[in-house]
């Protein structure tokens, strides 16, 4: 087990450098990093030159990259468009997005797995067909469409929820946005659980469990579920990245002042410091989630542990 952990950690290192390099290149080399620092207008040449020196932009690219990496490790992400430090913006934005994501994950797990188990055990029956169609529609319709429609129906037409979330974003206001954010992932979890259960139900070890005279409930819970849920759990873990991407859209629709909102503002105003800072942290979170999932996989499946 220890060897497996170390191997995964070592594999993370080149990936970490590769990803940060990619981000760095996309922002600093393709765009103009100092655009937007002078408010909404272009900077005059003297200020521009001064800013360039200040941010080390006159140095060779590889050196800029090293400075960027150094900044990551010291936690210095620079200044945002409104003068605040980027890290301050992060401190207000991240908790909100985390709350939203947690709501989404809870929906994903509870609804997704339950539906998946029910349909996996009742393949071909009407319940199965209905759920399959529903999940297909949810997956096909882009999240922003679902979000806008729900906002239209629940917020505007029927007035059940507030169409825009207030700036403190308490959990109860985040329920519908959370459901929207979770919707596609939920559909995937349902399908994945369903397939996993249906496949495992035909496995030899299930036949043995039945041959042992075990009651059906025990066969399903102790033998079938334990094996079937392994890919599902790992999927949910790696889904964190998708949720992060989705949060941007959901936050825009419901006007939630989380990470997505800040990121969007940063891009709109071409403030590369904000963009780079938030994206880097998000990607780090994603890599960490991936690592945790790989470790979790080893915990759940002893065959990996002792490979």
């Amino acid at each position: 087990m220890g060897r497996y952990v170390i191997r995964r950690l070592l594999q993370m290192i080149p990936v970490f450098f590769g990803t940060t390099l990619l981000i760095f290149l996309m922002v600093n080399v393709m765009g103009d990093p100092i655009a937007g620092l002078c408010g909404d207008r272009q900077c005059d040449p003297a200020t521009a030159a001064q800013l360039r020196t200040e941010f080390g932009l006159d140095k060779p690219v590889w050196q800029q990259y090293l400075t960027y990496m150094g900044n990551i490790f010291t936690g210095d992400f620079g200044t945002a468009f409104n003068g605040q430090k980027v890290t301050e913006l992060m401190a207000t934005a991240f908790p909100i997005t985390i709350r939203l994501t947690v709501v989404a994950i809870v929906f994903e797990i509870v609804i997704g797995i339950s539906l998946g188990v029910v349909t996996g055990l009742r393949r071909g029956r009407p319940v199965d067909t209905v759920v399959l169609i529903l999940t297909l529609v949810v997956i096909a319709v882009p999240t922003f469409v679902t979000g806008l429609l729900l906002q239209l129906l629940l917020g505007v037409e029927w007035g059940i929820i507030k169409p825009s979330v207030s700036s403190e974003a308490p959990v109860d206001e985040l329920i519908v946005p959370g459901l929207v954010l979770a919707s596609v992932s939920l559909a995937y979890v349902t399908r994945l659980t369903r397939t996993s259960i249906a496949e495992n139900a035909r496995a030899d070890y299930v036949r043995t469990a039945v041959a042992k005279g075990l009651p059906r409930r025990r066969v399903v819970v102790r033998h079938l579920l334990r094996n079937s849920l392994i890919p599902v759990v790992t999927f949910i873990g790696t889904d964190v990245g998708a949720l992060m991407g989705g949060a941007i859209v959901t936050e825009r629709i419901f006007n939630i002042h989380g990470v997505g909102y800040q990121l969007y503002q940063g891009i709109l105003r071409q403030n590369s410091q904000t963009v780079v800072g938030f994206v880097t942290v998000l990607v780090l979170v994603f890599l960490a989630a991936n690592l945790i999932v790989d470790l979790l996989y080893a915990v759940l499946d002893p065959r990996i542990r002792y490979a």
Binding site: A211, R218, P302
Partner: protein
């Protein structure tokens, strides 16, 4: 008589038609007796066993006729729950591939102990102790240290022993072993078969040994039933069948065993392939491949003729087959 299967019929409904997997099978096993059921893939030997255990997949499968008398009760007439209680406690089954037949994410101790927890209401601690006892009994070294290990950490032979341990945990009256040694090396095969025989003697269990390997059968079995296309084609006490088979199929099987004094000669194989169960040939199902087939074989299904007191053969020309030896 411990187990008596009477005129059992099992069919499978597939999108291409109805596959008749078992077509009127009769066999019996007494206490302490070993019945070997021989046949190629598709002969129906496993399906019959699964029907006896009650673990057939019931859509597509369907038991369309017959009786299964176990300790004088017809299992097919019992309620599902009663049947479940019999499984594991009074009759148990061992499967071919122990690696896929054991749950990969539970330790062997948990899987062995489960029998005691569920059927005897033992606590987990007691069940674990029992599991260690069982592992010792089937001669798995260092049982106490290994009781928490997982199936993939054992060798093939040891895994099969664990399956045997699981089957005999509650001292059932009947054990069905479905090709228990096919996936093992020859030396390990012998060890596992010896273990089975020993346990059977000790507990006076009835044993149904399903295999396609005639060599394994000679040591262990009391009587043999040969199956082809879902029917029994020959039954006999074990020794006589080797010396004088009474059915062309059995004869063909015996001839196919490679022998040391056959150097330089071509290996014999029964010509043709086993029949498609969706379209079993009319008359005697073996006639397309039989060197002795005549016109009557193509039209009349041969009943089980009496060869002598203990032997039966489903061949119109059993006498000629016997004499041709």
């Amino acid at each position: 008589m411990l187990l008596e299967v009477r005129d059992l019929h099992v069919e499978f409904h597939t999108r291409d038609g109805v596959a008749k997997a078992v077509n009127g099978v009769n066999y019996s096993v007494a206490e302490g007796e070993t019945l070997a059921v021989l046949g190629e893939s598709g002969s129906g030997k496993s399906v019959t066993a699964q029907a006896v255990m009650g673990i057939l997949d019931m859509p597509p499968g369907r038991i369309s006729g017959g009786e299964i008398l176990f300790k004088d009760r017809d299992l097919l007439k019992l309620k599902a729950d009663e049947r479940r209680r019999i499984r594991g406690q009074e009759m148990a089954m061992i499967f071919q591939d122990a690696l896929s037949s054991l749950n990969p994410v539970l330790s062997v101790g948990q899987q062995l102990g489960e029998m005691f927890v569920v059927h005897r209401g033992m606590s987990r601690g007691d069940a674990r102790a029992k599991a260690i006892e069982l592992m010792d009994r089937v001669r798995i070294p260092a049982a106490r240290e290994r009781v928490g290990d997982f199936p993939h950490q054992f060798s093939g032979g040891m895994r099969q022993r664990i399956m045997i341990a699981m089957a005999m945990a509650l001292e059932p009256s009947l054990i069905i072993a479905d090709e228990p040694t096919t996936a093992l090396d020859v030396t390990v095969q012998a060890q596992v078969m010896d273990l089975l025989a020993e346990l059977q003697r000790e507990l006076n269990m009835g044993l149904i040994l399903i295999t396609h390997d005639l060599g394994v059968v000679a040591d262990v079995a009391d009587k043999i039933a040969v199956m082809y296309a879902g029917r029994i084609v020959e039954t006999s006490p074990v020794h006589e069948i080797y010396q004088a088979p009474a059915h062309p199929y059995t004869k063909g099987l015996l001839r196919s065993i490679p022998r040391l004094d056959q150097k330089g000669q071509e290996l014999y194989a029964i010509k043709g392939l086993p029949p498609n169960l969706l379209h079993i040939p009319p008359g005697c199902a073996f006639h397309p491949r039989c060197p002795m087939a005549q016109a009557v074989c193509r039209t009349d299904v041969p009943p089980l003729y009496t060869v002598d007191e203990e032997r039966r053969s489903a061949c119109h020309f059993w006498k000629e087959t016997l004499d041709a030896r």
